[in-house]
Subunit: 258 residues, 2 copies
């Protein structure tokens, strides 16, 4: 059974303040819970239905407590529109130690990406494209917001998401000889530019792009060309979509261009 | 003022059945309403706040009726979590005449893309990449679902979205000498394949990919390579993100590869 106070607790974890106070966050759904089970994250309580237990042979021993409940109880406790077969209450991890250098070919800095769906999708994109570190400005959606967790589809278990001001990230980028590159609507065409350099890529806010203070400290401005005839097309792309297209071109040039 | 029955009407237009019965759909927000005002769509009633009128000098004469209302009234009537400064009640357009051939370099077929956010984002992607026609299986989210309209950011005004079975689309693709290409997790690497051919690209459902019946009738299977080390990354990409990365590579090869 999921008690009334546990349901209250789960609902309260929608708010960052409560997540920090309780040191907990929520993960739902077979796929993402399975990723958490095979990661270093600690599950305090895992509520599962019979269907879940029949369908999966995950190693549940990593969860401190596994409680079988009815589908209806999951429904009452769930933060999702379409509740699934399991809800995990997990411990917030210790903060990641701030890296002293930037060694990867491509690293991301998100400047106030506020939509949780976009944040989660970008983390999933990084996971696919082998981008290991994503720095987020303090204005970004919180990694442990349930919508970020769900949209990341479990990728938050593999990608290091580090909240930091741009100043600190800029310092290690400079010290590591990494070029700072920002995505704009009026930059160099990514398809005719040489991207084959160690890069910190900055993606900006949904409505306002990269903020002016950061924009002035960027080495290169890049753009995805608009292919619509006479430029009579969409004014912009969604930030997660743009991140994917730009990261894909970096990776293509790193791996497949002669 | 927005009357009680109008508020009821607006809320009812969340459902496709009601949209068809009333022959109406809803558009909200400055940016998208401005796109509708400069398109062929007909606005029956446009509710705007004073802020909207002060901020914009759109040609409002295209709306049959412009009604100034208070922000609070917009809030009550809005279908959005964050209501904006305007709500337009628009007429559903006449269905697009089914094309007799496929003339564009790249055309899309969406096989049961069910999430409205993904549908809208894909329409916006098509608009950016100059893809003029998107065929949708009957199982796709409805174009006039308010969430599709909002996610498309106005691009639905410029991209032809045509609901059709795969059979009919396959017939015109074959008759037009267009290759049918599907996105899979185990296809040819898009970065080492020659994509410089007239193509109908099929993108599948969020959970299940392209359905088996269609998959058997495809000329080419393509994939976005996973760049994560030892393939220990995300299992897949969101369908809108994958659509963008694949369309971008088609367009790159059409325009920038020698």
């Amino acid at each position: 059974m999921i008690g009334k106070n546990t349901i209250k607790l789960i609902k309260s974890l929608l708010d960052k303040k409560n997540r920090i106070e309780e040191n907990l966050f929520v993960v739902e759904g077979d796929k993402i819970v399975s990723e958490v089970l095979s990661s270093g994250f600690k599950i305090e309580r895992l509520f599962v239905t019979n269907t879940f237990l029949e369908k999966h042979s995950f190693n549940l021993s990593k969860a401190s407590a596994v409680i079988e409940v009815l589908q209806d109880e999951i429904k009452k406790a769930s933060l999702l529109k379409t509740p699934q077969n399991c809800i995990a209450i997990c411990q917030l991890p210790a903060p990641i130690k701030f890296p002293s250098e930037m060694t990867e070919p491509l690293t991301l800095f998100l400047d106030d990406v506020q939509d949780p769906g976009n944040m989660g999708t970008i983390i999933r994109i990084c996971d696919w494209f082998g981008i290991k570190q994503v720095y987020c400005s303090p204005g970004c959606a919180d990694l442990f917001n349930p919508k970020v967790i769900q949209a990341s589809m479990g990728s938050f278990c593999r990608v290091d998401v580090i909240t930091s001001t741009f100043d600190k990230v800029e310092t290690i980028a400079h010290a590591s000889g990494v070029k700072i590159c920002g995505a704009f609507l009026d930059g160099e065409n990514i398809y005719t530019s040489d991207l084959n350099k160690k890069t910190l890529l900055i993606m900006g806010n949904e409505g306002n792009g990269i903020n002016g203070q950061i924009a002035g400290r960027i080495d290169r401005r890049v753009s995805i060309p608009q292919f619509a005839v006479n430029n009579k097309g969409a004014e912009s792309l969604n930030v997660a979509v743009a991140t994917a297209v730009i990261c894909a071109e970096f990776k293509r040039q790193f791996n497949y261009s002669k």
